[in-house]
Point group: C2
Chain length 466, copies 2
């Protein structure tokens, strides 16, 4: 048993392969559907948007996919990330539980997002793409992609929701420092943007509009593609470097396998990144590691949403995806954890949840910040508001272990630092935060609006298609 | 030769002792003087402000001072810090030079400052102190001390210059997250503050006023002390963990000892931290490592100031200290590298410079940001504006090596990240930065105002005193 706080790995221990959980899933995720015809769409439908290699990964059932050397080389700028034993937090909680966290905040942009931004930029560069477009809300994803594009000499156009562009200039500046072009969305650059501005010149914008602009921007030229930071299968797979390193680190520390693995849940890549390699141990080695997604009570798609087909975006431009959802036009409360406000969950995570292979719990905003402040005072690092949800789950589990007098091993994904989120802490200390727990009536009303096919009806159609 | 980007050490390799360069200095620093009597002051004069152990360290000539286990334990939350080989920057510069940087931005508050904040809080706690007061400008030092006080259960009162308190809320929030009490300065809490406010209720404040308030706050109670983040001997010594780790890391990487060691220069602790262990090798092993301080052209005390006695603070409350100075009431241009705007240099660094044992060069603000943006695009990390000065020096040296066709080894202190300084980058990209190079007339006018004793007159007095 190593008594260090930090469990580190050498660069030679950066994983050589990503883990593709689809290979081991007892029920594979159902296919995306063409919203027009209601029929499954093939990978060719994605070709205008993504490079071939990423499309292949999106539909791959290979268990492991090799990480290119050039990607591992850029990963080595911050990976392997450290794992910490949270000794101070354990002491503060007076718990018999052993708490470990994997700290992804050491990346250049301060979160786990570059784990997928870097390979996405790499494959695009390999296939001759000169420019990548994307959307961003507060800027977490946009900054990761800006950094990644800079590493491979690709132009990066980020459509940033106008209200964030105006109110949160720090991330915008970071993107520009890495050479990206950042446009407030809606903009005059796209037809979608011009239409919105014609109707409402003072609109604050939305992620839905920003997606439309980014997709339209990608269609403008053959050497321009589009990039997404969560939800999709290949994105989740790229993030598995987190969990793969974690397993090595727990081993190196002489620690038990965790009883619980927690991660914040937005679209799924944060959670998938740390948990899938542990779900793998459950599926293939009969382990019983509880992998639990921490979502906000204001956007509780996993704990209170329905599992059916829905659009990935607000305006309904994407294929229909099998997901736990609150409805694609669901507008969650404006919590500070912007990355967790997404209406649905990626197809893989949704199937795993439906099959009882992962769990979920909902945390309200105030409990999340109470947890985050406790963590900062114990462990020093001020967490991102998204991370605070997982920390709240950890504290619940550590307190339960204390009450039961059981020693448990807990691991969580400390997905990013809160340096750009200090105004959220200000609101917390000023007593300006609301819990934002949805009422049953609100949940019912949201899901009642979903009109797209049910899972059962699609299964039946697929069975009939043979 | 290790081909990793990062050279890491295990927690057991955190230094066990700080290095006290006074032991090896051919000419010891001259004593501080009582400004009233003009006579040397003894350590007892510091007792109202500092705990005994820090006063002992301030005047110690022991070569090594042991780092307490509890301090090393807190250090282990982020130390040893990684050293990076800046391969991407080398490539971008097309230089034969090998460039290494020690990255102190991984600390909880994002800079090297906790290296001294932690032992200062520890020794205060050991001696029964319940509250520490300090001043801060933009908040770099205040946040380091807030974190450190939280670790040892001490209250922390930070007097933050009002204009920063109002305009830079992020660092203030960070301090409050760690449990500190942050007051805009001037405040109604102190006599000094009330006097200033009575005359000018809308004053933006200044570091000089904030120091007065913090010192007054410390005098209010026997269990309250004061803390300073640079300049003093013990503060510089605490920072030597940076250079001590660096030597081990270069060895581990199979690298040569550096030809050049660069660091930003404000009051001296940043520069001392990385360079003193290398100056030690020059003094005791006949090495020839050039240790060069990078100061701003807007506050060029080392390259254009005079070496004589001066006050440590603006208003003239401290003892007189032998320093390279531009005059204690010198008001530098408002460059973004707030940490480098200090008028003088600590006594040890000043003596070393007078003896030709270290060097200095001045960098203008625009060159510093050009260097910082290049670094961010090469190495990913967005640097603090202070760090950009050292990076500019590194780029000069790497370009010189290229021109001369010589392979040189360069090390610099990448003292902190720029996450809280993005508005400075915004100004740079918008073309709103000025060079701020002092004219000879301005330098002459500044130093002509210094009235305190010359070094020679004090040496003569000391000789007469026997």
């Amino acid at each position: 048993m190593d008594n260090s706080r930090k469990i580190t790995l050498s660069e030679s221990e950066i994983p050589t392969h990503w883990y593709n959980i689809v290979h081991d899933m007892p029920n594979k995720p159902l296919p995306p559907l063409n919203p027009g015809t209601g029929e499954p769409i093939g990978p060719e439908a994605l070709m205008p948007l993504f490079p071939m290699e990423l499309i292949k990964q999106e539909v791959s059932q290979e268990k492991y996919i090799e990480i290119p050397d050039q990607v591992r080389d850029v990963y080595s700028m911050w990976r392997p990330t450290p794992m910490f034993r949270a000794r101070n937090l354990e002491k503060m909680l007076d718990t018999p539980a052993k708490i470990y966290y994997k700290f992804e905040g050491v990346s250049p942009s301060g979160s786990h997002k570059p784990n997928t931004a870097v390979p996405q930029a790499y494959y695009n560069a390999q296939e001759g793409v000169k420019r990548i477009t994307t959307e961003t809300g507060a800027g977490q994803w946009g900054s990761a992609l800006s950094f990644a594009c800079q590493m491979f000499g690709i132009e990066c156009d980020v459509h940033m929701v106008r209200i964030s562009f105006d109110q949160k200039p720090y991330r915008k500046m970071m993107m520009q420092t890495w050479g990206a072009n950042v446009y407030p969305s809606p903009s005059e650059r796209t037809e979608a943007g011009r239409q919105v501005l014609a109707k409402d010149p003072d609109t604050p914008g939305s992620l839905g509009i920003a997606i439309s602009e980014a997709v339209e921007g990608a269609a403008m030229s053959e050497t321009t593609k589009y990039s997404l930071g969560s939800v999709l299968n290949h994105v989740l797979m790229h993030q598995t470097v987190i969990g793969l390193e974690s397993i090595k680190q727990l081993e190196k520390a002489g620690a038990d396998l965790p009883d619980y693995v927690f991660a914040p849940f937005g679209g799924g890549s944060n959670f998938a990144g740390i948990s899938f390699p542990f779900v793998h141990l459950n599926l293939t080695e009969g382990k019983n590691i509880q992998c639990i997604a921490s979502e906000p009570t204001s956007a509780p798609k996993l704990t209170r949403g329905v599992f059916r087909y829905d659009f990935g975006d607000t305006v309904g431009m994407t294929p229909l995806i099998p997901m736990y959802t609150l409805g694609h036009d669901f507008v969650p409360a404006k919590i500070h954890a912007g990355g967790l406000r997404y209406h649905g969950a990626g197809a893989i995570v949704s199937q795993l949840l439906a099959d009882g292979l992962i769990g979920a719990e909902a945390i309200d905003q105030i409990e999340s910040f109470e947890a985050g402040v406790m963590f900062a005072r114990a462990e020093g690092i001020v967490p991102a508001p998204e991370a605070n949800h997982a920390i709240a789950s950890v504290i619940r589990a550590a307190n339960a272990a204390k009450e039961a007098g059981e020693s448990k091993t807990i691991l969580f994904n400390m997905c990013g630092h809160g340096n750009f989120d200090m105004l959220a802490y200000q609101d917390y200390f000023a007593g300006n935060l609301e819990k934002h727990e949805m009422t049953q009536e609100e949940v019912d009303a949201a899901v009642a609006k979903i009109e797209s096919p049910t899972i059962d009806s699609v299964k039946e159609m697929l069975a009939n298609m043979g």
